[in-house]
Subunit: 186 residues, 2 copies
Amino acid sequence: MTGTQEARRRDSARSREALLRAASELFSERGFDRTTTRDIGRRAGVDPALIARYFGGKTQLYLAAVEAERGDAPVSDLLAPERLRQVLEGAARRGLVPILQVGVQPLSDPAAHEAARAALHDRLVEPLHRRFTAEGRAQPRLRAEIVVAAVIGIVLGRRSGAFEELGEVASDDLAALLQETLQGGG
Amino acid sequence: MTGTQEARRRDSARSREALLRAASELFSERGFDRTTTRDIGRRAGVDPALIARYFGGKTQLYLAAVEAERGDAPVSDLLAPERLRQVLEGAARRGLVPILQVGVQPLSDPAAHEAARAALHDRLVEPLHRRFTAEGRAQPRLRAEIVVAAVIGIVLGRRSGAFEELGEVASDDLAALLQETLQGGG
DNA sequence: CGCACATGTCATCGTACGATGACATCAATC
DNA sequence: GATTGATGTCATCGTACGATGACATGTGCG
């Protein structure tokens, strides 16, 4: 076996990662349904047929992308200092967006929907729920869900092309503006 | 011509309305892309080919649905008493949802996207913008867009199946909870 | 009644998509 | 360098969709 270091002209791991990366980007930009396996292959510079070989299919590739994002640093709760800004900023380039999208519309694929829903819950809702519970607030879960849903609307709204200023404002300014409000907790 | 009162077995106006109504419902439930002309025809009890005849195509049917919703009572601004509750409540049955969806993801069809965007602006963003301007707040447009985006996240979040309590809470309770917070204006 | 148009029905086209399997090519081992 | 498995390429299948046009049937009018 060739050492893992040197770049081989044929490298399944490299292809796998290229597909995973391209898929994360495209799922973020267009969502699950509007992303085609051909698009993913083109951006990855890899034949789309390899999606089936390495992941099993488009759905499993989506699951892998969600799982990969999940492995990242936990989001902690949205109201912790800097966290909100990180989500606003990082959503643009990282794989968090596919997880946010499920908060706003069911996915056509049930397995994909459930995976995204679970990730959304674990990464965003639950940390906030814990904070509100610790603070002794009434209806902590509902309030957590409201804040998360509102933030999702704002994050996705920035990328929707439907708002004039929301898409242009700097993440820092937006975060500051939001933090004071959301502190109220919905 | 037969009197407009009596039900004719063949009635283009009736078919047109049935299609428009079914389209509004389905666009609300599944969005533009996931709604097929065959679905619309089935729910309307009308042959899908009539969509082409009476509207020109799926896109124009969508435009007609948005326009019809637009003809309804103006939303006024979201923070007026009762308005928020009405949006939360009414979104479930009326044709407002297709307009909200554009705030969260671009539509695949450019004409449909633009129509929905314009409706979103006129019906929700602009009234709020006027209120904030009248109140002399800083960045009135940005704040209006933030509030609208947040409300969109919450309204769509209720129907996404991704939240536990948000989908169940009564519109009145939710409206009360939100009003106090959003009064802050983002 | 019989004509002409309005309305409804149906078959089908072209396109795009995810998936699959046959085939080609490379790489490690003997 | 021959063999064998890993990796990459390609053609194609089946399905679903929006659209279209040919055709059928009902309706109002002379």
